[in-house]
């Protein structure tokens, strides 16, 4: 039996989503699927205190990337457009996948690039052209471009403000 919940977390609130998923696990709901706009599917089970962390899937050597995480005690909880949500018991030795500032920045920049890419595609798709798209359709695409562009800027700002060494 799959339990569906809707809770929207904008991309710059990734940490809040990870904490919410942990609360759900403690309540006996373990994430199965994460949709783009807040749709979450859970599978009921025993209460577990699991830590969740998002990580971008690399474009190359994906199997080696996954094996490294699996060896380190992480499991794949959910997959969402180029990103994997990993989980590990909260009592595990290391409950962070990015343990230094440069890796955290790199993760944020990867997310920013993903959002920026969607914004660009949406903006191009909103341009007038002989494709028969209605004004309303173009307006929706333009709104998507603005929203994803704003999200990219917010996430990029987070990346820039992650602690830098003196």
């Amino acid at each position: 039996m799959v339990v569906k919940k809707w809770r929207f977390f904008p991309p710059w609130r990734e940490t809040e989503q990870e904490q919410w998923l942990q609360e759900m696990s403690r309540a006996g709901l373990h994430v199965l699927e994460v949709g783009t706009f807040g749709h979450h599917s859970f599978i009921p089970g025993p209460s577990r205190d699991l830590v969740y962390r998002w990580s971008a899937v690399p474009s190359r050597e994906r199997e080696q990337y996954k094996q490294l995480y699996l060896d380190a005690g992480w499991e794949i909880a959910a997959v969402s457009v180029g990103f994997i949500c990993w989980c590990t018991p909260a009592a595990a030795g290391c409950t962070e996948v990015f343990t230094d500032s440069s890796a955290k920045r790199r993760h944020k920049f990867q997310l920013m690039l993903c959002l920026g890419g969607v914004a660009t595609i949406s903006a191009i798709a909103a341009l007038p052209g002989p494709d028969g798209i209605s004004v309303f359709g173009r307006a929706l695409r333009a709104a998507a471009a603005i929203w994803f562009g704003y999200a990219a800027v917010r996430v990029g700002w987070q990346a820039l403000t992650i602690g830098r060494r003196a």
Binding site: Q64, K66, Q67, D71, A72, F98, D100, S102
Partner: protein, 105 residues
């Protein structure tokens, strides 16, 4: 040789290079780093994966084998030299800091 473009090494990179006294795969390096640092330093898989790519591009490490989806890396001669230079610099820094903290000793 001028190693300044590689230095200073980040904490993760320093420990990873130091842990490669023998060719190892990622998780073995993670365990070794934790042991070397007495548990005070842990490297997450996301940090490890990114550092591998950087160190390999810089030719400080090289892939020597692959076993069951695990890449095995070894230190290159350049990597060894860079690590030695970092250690030399750290020794100077520690010596200077100790003198500053305990000027009478």
């Amino acid at each position: 040789m001028d190693y300044s473009k590689y230095l200073p090494l980040s904490e993760a990179s320093f420990y990873m290079l130091a842990a490669l006294d023998q060719p190892s795969h990622g998780y073995a390096i993670m365990q070794k780093v934790e042991a070397m640092s007495g548990g005070s330093v842990t490297i997450g898989p996301g940090t490890m994966y990114g550092a591998f790519n950087t160190l390999e591009k810089q030719k400080l490490i090289t892939k020597v084998a692959e076993e069951e989806r695990r890449k095995i890396y070894a230190l290159t001669d350049l990597g060894r030299d860079v690590l030695a230079e970092q250690v030399r610099r750290l020794e100077i820094m520690v010596k200077g800091a100790r003198a500053a903290l305990h000027p009478e000793k």
